[in-house]
């Protein structure tokens, strides 16, 4: 420390022009940060800028040299296309239900499973298993379970005397089926995060409530939920953004069908850009996706952070 103070007051400049100790110290933090920032610039910020740039051109992956400036035409085409509105609506509905169910079910599971006995640990691990498995395998597994003729799910329904469900085969049920699969995958994760959050609530708050003979629901409402708000807030962002990015299950299970009923943003971008070679449309849709993700993040940070109760 003394050495540095001394060096600051009396910077040593060598005769050969080699940078002094002070200069190295000045640049050191930047040197350490540069590698990571280089990657971020190259693989986040530049692509974003490039993507916005590309959205103003008519181009195709087949022939990148033949780009044509079209200004806002791509966006125009996008917003006059009924299919795109269906894509947006599908994405929105999917997200709302996946997040609501995924977090709602997880919350109650967390309250139930947040106990010490060993069996609860086992159940917690059990419900977490889907989360670490590749989405591809989960998608294929559920395709098989949901097979309209031979799948286990319809067999179970029949066993209970219920009519067979159309699962992925019909436009009205396909989206619901995808919601089911996504909720199944994420519930375990949400639950365990909630449990971690619950366990960090100081016990004395509950003791005080017990002394006050507070009924269970009141304790829940006045203590648990407010104290859990950072966790709730965190999960809300994570779940929402990840629902917006859904692709694997669509690609493997429905390819956006039947009749575009499960076509959602990322799949739409993929199809337009890499199947139909409408690069301009795909970039424009990507810009829309980016704006939505950015807006969501902003919304959460601004509006909801006010509600978050920090200790």
């Amino acid at each position: 420390m003394w050495k540095e103070i001394a060096l600051k007051r009396y910077p040593i400049r060598s005769k050969t022009g080699i940078p002094s100790q002070q200069l190295i110290e000045k640049f050191r933090p930047y040197l350490y940060v540069v590698p990571a920032l280089a990657f971020f610039t190259l693989f986040f910020f530049y692509p974003i800028a490039y993507m916005v740039y590309l959205s103003f051109y008519d181009w195709s992956l087949l022939d990148l040299s033949a780009m044509k400036w079209v200004g806002l035409e791509n966006f125009q085409a996008l917003f006059t296309d009924n299919d795109f509105y269906q894509v947006l609506s599908n994405t929105f509905i999917f997200t709302v239900f996946t997040v609501a169910l995924g977090m709602g079910i997880a919350f109650f599971l967390a309250l139930w499973l947040n106990q010490r006995a060993k069996i609860y640990g086992v159940v917690q691990a059990a419900i977490f298993t889907p989360h670490i498995i590749s989405l591809v395998s989960i998608a294929m597994l559920w395709m098989w379970l949901m097979d309209p003729q031979y799948g286990l799910l319809n067999a179970i329904l029949e066993w209970f005397g219920l009519p067979a469900y159309s699962w992925l085969a019909d436009t009205k049920s396909a989206l619901a089926s995808l919601v089911l699969v996504s909720v199944w995958k994420v519930v375990g994760y949400n639950t365990l995060v909630f449990i971690a959050g619950l366990q960090s609530i100081p016990k004395y708050l509950y003791e005080a409530a017990a002394l006050d003979r507070s009924p269970a629901w009141k304790t829940l409402w006045k203590i648990t939920i407010p104290m859990l708000s950072p966790t709730l807030f965190f999960l809300l962002i994570i779940n929402t953004i990840s629902s917006f990015q859904v692709f694997d299950t669509i690609y493997v299970m429905t390819q956006g069908g039947p009749v575009n009923s499960t076509n959602m943003l990322v799949f739409y971008i993929y199809e337009q850009g890499m199947d139909f070679y409408n690069g301009g449309i795909a970039s424009a849709a990507s810009v829309v996706l980016l704006l939505l993700v950015a807006l969501l993040t902003l919304f959460h940070f601004l509006v909801l952070s006010r509600k978050v109760h920090y200790r």
Binding site: A36, Y50, I127, P130, V266, T297
Partner: protein, 281 residues
């Protein structure tokens, strides 16, 4: 809490029994599908098409695994998956440690801005920007190489975030002592900070490895030939190569992908769960 469990043994009220049943049911909802995957993998095709389905296979058919394995160069797929996951991890490690150290322990102009940029990068999922990155990679001739799978993930904002928090918690005295001992900053990072942050590094490593091992979307976009395909892509091709109704072979192939992870999970539950839950803290 030994007191708790001994109390449980004494009082098995009907409510407790119902709760036990519910617990088992809940666990089954999440675990039974994997069992069903396994049971299907051992059935012969005619039995797969039985309705109502049989539970245990009447005839245990082991050939489905061989068929799945031989449907493509699975050893290569495995190798590629491994190389990508490890390669990403190494790069992330090399970029995150110095950056996290700088953010945690130095004051320098622009620090907050640069850290803010890191946080923004955290918020941008790859699905949003895959198209321009594909064009970029194509321009560099890197499409369909393992580099296209590794480089874009070279720096992890999440890793930097985690490590920074961990580094911030190292007491100043430890570092001052090292500096007084004429230790170079570089040495401090790798010989002191990293060992202290080992639990966080293991946590992050697990998270990153599992994420990239399971990644389907990115290799789907970036690769188009068997030499660089990864395991999830190979598995998904089973539907096409065998026929989308040949569920026994498809399930057998998926077992190859799923069960090693399940087994690792069984033995390393705590660590893995901690790895994924850590984000929330």
């Amino acid at each position: 809490m030994k007191g708790g469990s001994s109390l449980n043994r004494l009082a098995t009220s009907p409510l407790k029994i119902i709760e036990r049943i519910l617990l088992i049911l809940v666990s089954l909802i999440f675990v039974f599908p994997f069992l069903w995957m396994m049971l299907t993998a051992f059935k012969t095709l005619p039995e797969v098409f039985r309705f109502p389905p049989t539970l245990l296979p009447e005839v245990w058919d082991f050939s489905n695994f061989l068929k799945a394995w031989e449907s493509g160069p699975f050893l290569k797929y495995l190798l590629n998956s491994f190389i990508v996951a490890v390669g990403v991890l190494i790069l992330q490690f090399l970029t995150a440690v110095p950056a996290a150290y700088a953010f945690a322990r130095y004051r320098f102009p622009g620090r907050n801005l640069l850290f803010g940029i890191t946080l923004i990068a955290l918020m941008i999922p790859p699905q949003v920007i895959f198209l321009p990155i594909y064009v970029q990679m194509s321009g560099w001739g890197l499409v369909n190489t393992l580099w296209s799978l590794i480089l874009p993930y070279g720096a992890s904002a999440f890793g930097i975030f985690l490590l920074r928090q961990s580094f911030m918690q190292v007491p100043d005295e430890v570092i001052e002592a090292a500096r007084l001992d004429q230790a170079s900053e570089w040495k401090i990072i790798w010989k002191i900070m990293v060992p202290i942050a080992k639990p966080v590094l293991v946590t992050f490593g697990l998270f990153s490895f599992i994420y990239h091992w399971n990644d389907y979307f990115w290799p789907l976009i970036m690769t188009n030939s068997d030499t660089v395909r990864t395991l999830p892509i190979g598995i998904s091709m089973l539907k096409a190569s065998e026929g989308s109704q040949v569920w026994n072979v498809i399930m057998a192939g998926n077992m190859i992908l799923v069960f090693p992870i399940l087994i690792i999970f069984f033995f390393a539950q705590r660590h893995i769960i901690r790895a994924f839950i850590y984000q929330s803290k």
